[in-house]
Symmetry: C2
Amino acid sequence: MRVSQLLNPTLREVPAEAEVISHQLMVRAGLIRKSASGFYTYLPLGLRVLRKIEAIVREEMDAKGGQEVLMPIMQPAELWKESGRWEVYGDELFRLKDRHNREFCLGPTHEEIITDLVRNEVRSYKQLPLLLYQIQNKYRDERRPRFGLMRGREFVMKDLYSFDRDEAGLGESYKKMYDAYCRIFSRCGLAYRAVEADAGAIGGTGGTHEFMVLADSGENAVVYCPECNYAANVEKAECRPQVIEDVSPEGQHKLVSTPNVKTIEELSEFLVEPKTALVKSLLYQGDEKLFLVLLRGDRELNEIKLNNALGGFVSLQLASPEAVSTILGCAPGSVGPIEVPAGLLVIADEEVPLMKKAVCGANKADYHFVDTVPSRDFRIDKILDLRMMEPGEACLKCGVPLKEARGIEVGQVFKLGTKYSKALGATFLDLNGEEKFCVMGCYGVGVSRSIAATIEQNHDDNGIIWPMPIAPYQCIVVPVSTKDALVVETADKLYLELKRLGVEVVLDDRDERAGVKFKDADLVGYPIRVTIGSKTLANGQVELRERKTGETKLVLVEEVAGQVKTIIEKALKY
Amino acid sequence: MRVSQLLNPTLREVPAEAEVISHQLMVRAGLIRKSASGFYTYLPLGLRVLRKIEAIVREEMDAKGGQEVLMPIMQPAELWKESGRWEVYGDELFRLKDRHNREFCLGPTHEEIITDLVRNEVRSYKQLPLLLYQIQNKYRDERRPRFGLMRGREFVMKDLYSFDRDEAGLGESYKKMYDAYCRIFSRCGLAYRAVEADAGAIGGTGGTHEFMVLADSGENAVVYCPECNYAANVEKAECRPQVIEDVSPEGQHKLVSTPNVKTIEELSEFLVEPKTALVKSLLYQGDEKLFLVLLRGDRELNEIKLNNALGGFVSLQLASPEAVSTILGCAPGSVGPIEVPAGLLVIADEEVPLMKKAVCGANKADYHFVDTVPSRDFRIDKILDLRMMEPGEACLKCGVPLKEARGIEVGQVFKLGTKYSKALGATFLDLNGEEKFCVMGCYGVGVSRSIAATIEQNHDDNGIIWPMPIAPYQCIVVPVSTKDALVVETADKLYLELKRLGVEVVLDDRDERAGVKFKDADLVGYPIRVTIGSKTLANGQVELRERKTGETKLVLVEEVAGQVKTIIEKALKY
């Protein structure tokens, strides 16, 4: 491709609305343009990256026995009503009606459609396992679309659904997909981690992993063990309770005056006690139900763990000051676990009963109890792991201090079990002629989001640094002058030679200054730049530069194509 | 691929709701499944065909300098309001609102989005011409979705938009696309015709051609000249007026009683006059305007010609009996052109003023005028070509009798001119620094419809007969027995050898009777079948059969893969 003919409008300025670097660079490098909030057009170079990721995903799905299908984007409401999701999905679902007033939605995911297909087509265990996937636009009406392709309303996903005879089969399918995902992100040239994660709203309880591209700008916090292979989303990370050396008081707990002390920080300061000696008491409301949550004073509550442990509320939040006042007769800052109403469920993090001595709220303004012994003085109904993991804590598996990283979620693998097959009646006859429900898994890759994640991880001040396997083109040939006939001719020849060798190459034949061409080449992020200038050409040489390292060397004209080819082949090897 | 693992549910019975053969066969051969009226899932084999057609389209677009982009499916209403189409598009447009109550539609076409892109990115004539295309789902809320992929509500199209500096540039882009379309349909192995067509609702007046796959079941009638290259949709076909030898009456026309005569047939019979001696008079209503249309009695009115000639009404139809009565004081069956109100526009088909003598209505029940001379007795305000072409008429270009065929529209090329660039303000600075509007064209291929059209044209009683270039797989290897170890082993080896040679091959390794396998192979329509049976294998031979011709021959095992490869290469050559 000649750059003069390529629709690749680059920008020097940072677009005002682009908050994150990947969004800025995708617009500046001419990869995408916005058509409405959360909706983008892929320009030629952006689409090439998308297609390359799709191709890698497709190869790896096929290698595991995946069969590609293509389901409708518009889905009839009936199926969503059958699965029960029509009512609960909420505002993120784009809904519409046809001319006959029938309800549809634009698919954010395709469990209903694929389960409907399988219930109609699968009769016998002989037809299982079945791994069906598609690569397609998905829709989610985000309250606040932002970050370009990172959180759009129309985005490209690969979604695969596995149908197995039993849990063991699901385990195998899950393993296949887990392995395929590792290959996909490795092949894309990304640094990533597969982390244990929370199943969230999609349901299923059999386990799930998220694939995180590591980048400082990531929305997710991840902890990982540098020693063993353990890694988890902090939302999910299991904690090992920490024991604080201390001595229990012999006498009863005492009420002490703590005027105007409301927060844990103020309490710690007022009583000159470390936060590890305090108990944090939080009255929570899950849907209609209230309960008291206890944590050590230095810990943060992990609401996702709390919600999972209690069976999953649609809404879970701190109880209102009014509710606190009604139940405990005090303000939220004074809540404590002693002498609470008999019907109020008290849930403690594992660390609380291990505390030898603790200060806690007294359900009375300006007072606290000191010298309590939680295991002696508190009524605790449930003991659970409820806190947020902190970096530096010991790995639950091997004891080594964990590290923290930020990650962008680009994939997730899920064990769904029989949730959808039961709701829609997707059954098969097993070896003994008995009717069984298909055991399902679902597995997503955010294809368009992977582009953004790649850029978050691979850029510098000058622009994007594409990993070779997903670069829009592998090489750019830049004649520094359009006046010097030999330079122009050499560039042309080299361009054609590289094409012949199968290199994906563009020729910057624009009548622009060399500086402009270099800036654009760096911005777009072509992995290899070959520069042809009059001076070096006098010695029969051109300049070969790798974007990633910035390394530059002079190479004989007749050798450069071969060297480019070698660099590419090495970079594509997996 | 092994058939035992392939999701390819074939059916023996014809599905009740499938009216046309392509729909029946696509369901029976396990290519698609319906998810809702007008919405389909492509199963693995159906998707392979779709992808093959897409690949051919993509290659031909790229070869003409087309640049692939990907635009959003969901389009903001604002752009459609700017172009003026939001109000006029009607019920076929799927409309929806987001959570903030902003209006969107699902794109049936992308003129607005692409023109918006170009107005933002193109500044100079140096950036033109620009040929931008995408291959993507389109949406049309058909009143009555039917015929499977032929008339669905969600379908795959390739749409290319050309932007040129002037009409001459548009002419070149149009020619490029016309040529590319010829190559596409030829490469797909289809018998087709490019026909002159009507521009319809999409607008633009510069000319348009439709690409029709010829098939008896086609919804469109096409006339073509067997001598020169003229071909046209009958809607568009220009007619040469036919002169009937006759003698004009010398005296005035006379009123004659024609009791109970209402139709042309009845009139011809009652007066013992050929229909060619009668004049048909029709009062028409275009939007709010009324006018009288005259045709020779044996002719049919072509409403599309009429509407185009009058500048394009949103609604054009026969006036109601009430309107006829109000204007002409009679019933529709008595309408005639003599002594009509001065304000009523009278439009005659070219043949009418050439009639030497004519019978016509008298605007009075049970009477007609005879011995009229249209050129003498009728007030005619406009003379136009208004009639439907009939097969057997002389070609306007070379005089040879035209033939008629039925066609399925699979592509259309359009000269849009400046309709959208003016509405949205897509301008550029020309060589002299003057601001000009981009001159546009648009060019569509119905990718998913092409699958159905191919089947309509290529099938027999046993199933589909795929042209090699778009067959889901090129070859099927069928071991007739799963008990005979040598048969099984030979089939397996052959399957692997064919794969090694790059042949797209499936192995029917199912434990089924040979008859079932043969029936499925014919139904799905694999172009080549290699059958391995115990008897012939005793002589070292297998059977090679071509689906299209039904020709069967015995070939030595060691030679068959080479022969398969040769047949395929020959069939793919273009």
